[in-house]
């Protein structure tokens, strides 16, 4: 049972499908799989699911050991790990009959394509947006910021009105890295990483500005400093007391994950979607708008066709879609969106986010290498050093340019 060759004795086919997720995702998916089996009695689907912890480790081992499941839920940038040349997963273009690709826009499909091979189909798209704790803002008597300058201004205002403990916005380094990226991309109008040249797609000055952006945010009490954040330990933002109490009154977060953040808020606090700040004259919001999760089919699968059928069922088929609900975010598939909207299954915050993403100019296609752990850690190490005063602003800017380029050169192969 452990091999890729799914047994097909007696005409019955067994597919293996793996995913990670939380309680509700597991329930929804298992429900959907049952319906799929009912629809196709000759196919059995075995779910191999875990929490997020360790999932990549396991998948990696399986892929290295050629024991990966037929259908896999993957992250967008995992394509760079497992399918640099597009050969790591089955080319789904071969299964146009099984999967209705017309439900997906070209941009989304292109983000699942490597070297002309369609490796993965997005389940949902996601981008980071600014979600602010309306309750706290109200308490301070302040409106949600609608421009960068308004955001910068909120820092001193928070400090003055609510005290040192309150911040208008917060997040992990990785959240900040994305925010600053957006800020820079709004200026350059280009992706930050160019995977062709294996380097940053901006100037040294841009990177200085990147660093300066961080400096300003910290200095102006807009974003808690590295020390303040770290004092709560290495834990997710939503589990930090200041977030729970509304002291850190905002997050720059994936729209697909925002419910997890609102869940832990203490008492009756409201989180609202803030207008997305744009630099004057920006032509692009600089949002990293990309698939939040994707389905891919094992390149060595014995049953690629059935796998494709399963993917279509989960993404496009009304029955599958209804079973999956929005547990993996608002679906990309137009058909699915329509069904769920009709059923009233899309929440207000989710709907607001979808609407905003539809409105904002998002044309720049970022390279998945921007999300490579080493690249992200590279950004983080430098910002952290700077945050702790180990290096000057000047050095931080240089490091951002030089070190990140070096890392890109190393990881893009």
């Amino acid at each position: 049972s452990q091999s890729t060759t799914s047994s097909s004795d007696g005409g019955a086919i067994t597919l293996r499908m793996s995913w990670w997720g939380g309680t509700s995702a597991h329930k929804a998916t298992l429900n959907a799989l049952q319906r799929f089996e009912k629809r196709h009695p000759h196919i059995r689907v075995r779910g191999e699911y875990t929490g997020f912890t360790g999932h990549l480790e396991r998948l990696t081992t399986q892929i290295a050991g050629e024991t990966a499941p037929d259908v896999m839920q993957i992250n967008w940038y995992w394509q760079t790990l497992f399918s640099r040349d597009g050969e790591g997963f089955t080319d789904l273009n071969q299964y146009k009959n099984e999967i209705d690709f017309s439900q997906f826009d070209a941009r989304t499909l292109s983000m699942g394509t490597t070297k002309g091979k369609l490796n993965a189909v997005a389940i949902s798209n996601a981008a980071r947006l600014m979600y602010l704790n309306k309750t706290t803002y109200d308490k301070a008597g302040l409106s949600l910021p609608d421009t960068w300058d308004a955001l910068f201004a909120r820092g001193p205002q928070f400090k003055a009105k609510l005290g040192d403990a309150y911040y208008p916005l917060d997040g992990l380094f990785q959240d900040f890295i994305a925010l600053a990226r957006s800020y820079i991309v709004q200026k350059t109008g280009k992706a930050l990483v160019n995977s062709e040249t294996k380097s940053l797609n901006c100037t040294r000055a841009d990177m200085h500005e990147y660093a300066g952006f961080y400096a300003k945010m910290i200095r102006d009490h807009v974003w808690p400093s590295a020390q303040v954040r770290a004092s709560y330990g290495y834990l997710p933002q939503q589990e930090m007391r200041p977030w729970i109490n509304g002291e850190f009154a905002g997050t720059y977060q994936w729209n697909s994950a925002i419910e997890k953040y609102t869940d832990t808020l203490a008492g009756k606090q409201e989180v609202a979607l803030a207008p997305y700040p744009m630099r004057p004259g920006a032509t692009d919001a600089g949002l990293l708008y990309r698939p939040s999760m994707m389905f891919a089919v094992n390149a060595k699968s014995q049953h690629p066709r059935e796998s494709a059928m399963l993917i279509n069922f989960l993404l496009n088929d009304p029955e599958g879609v209804r079973a999956m609900e929005t547990k993996r975010g608002v679906p990309v598939s137009k058909a699915a969106q329509a069904i769920l909207r009709e059923d009233g299954l899309i929440g207000k915050l989710q709907q607001d986010s979808e609407d905003m993403l539809a409105r904002l100019p998002i044309n720049v296609l970022e390279s998945p290498y921007f999300e490579h752990p080493r690249v992200r850690d590279g950004f983080q190490d430098i910002l952290e050093s700077f945050g702790y005063g180990k290096i000057t602003l000047e050095q931080a800017g240089d490091a951002l340019y030089d070190d990140i380029n070096a890392i890109l050169h190393r990881v893009i192969r």
């Binding site: 290495y234 752990p373 080493r374």
Partner: protein
Amino acid sequence: MRSISTPTWCEAAMFNDKKIGALYVAPFVIGFLLFTAFPFVASFVLSLTDAQLQDQLGSANFTGLQNYTEMGRDATFQKSLGVTFFYVFITVPLKLAFALFIAVVLNFKLRAIGFFRTAYYLPSILGGSVAIAIVWRFVFAGDGLINQALEMIGITGVNWLGEPNTAMFSIILLRLWQFGSAMVVFLAGLKAIPEDLYEAADLDGASRMRQFWMITLPLLTPVLFFNFIMQIVQAFQEFNGPYIITGGGPLKSSYLLPLMIYEEGFKYFNLGYSSALSWVLFVIIAIFTAIAFWSQKHWVFYAQESDKNRGDKK
């Protein structure tokens, strides 16, 4: 530990049959060859390649010692190595001292002492339980238990996890907290010291403090040695603490080598480099163990002779 190499007593006729003896250790030999030796060698071979975790092993290129020379340039590795040594050198003595202190307290004949011994061992069972991670973060948070306690006695709290200098201490404390097994070993060592030595010292007028330094400690050296080895080995392999609590930060101030090995492998997929790092760690541990064994003749006092003279038991 020591005289295992000169087992004169196994010359007794019944145990002279080498074939039967070999039969007994055969499982280990087979198991070692099968489950340890092969992966052991394989990982060394991997450390000489640029293998990527997700690729088939066959696709890796032989790069010679490049992974090892790379470490010379890798600032992260050097930082990690320094931090690891710092961690080991602080944790091991502290833990031994603490375990010894508690063992001494627990060695007193008190009612319900068994209960306390058990209770003190519990943290060592909790091990990798998720709850520990959560609680621990609570304990050290800026407004966490420790700082609240400090405030009560009028001391401004420390940003335990937020400062590179102190983040490591929370990890060290986590390990100190799990001092149970070292304590139990000390406890048994203490019990093996005859009561009348203390009585003799009492008569000689030695204070409890001097009794500890002049009698308890020297006689405990074999146990201390055993614990020392075990703790060194454990400390160099410390992974859970930084993984759970600090993630290695801030500023890689708690980025211990085992965490780096793990991340190189499973986060950055650099299997070759990760293997090379493992080997370096292995060699470091082996060197420390070897030094410890070599040094023991200068400070470890063995009360009974190794079983060489079974004849003169009087």
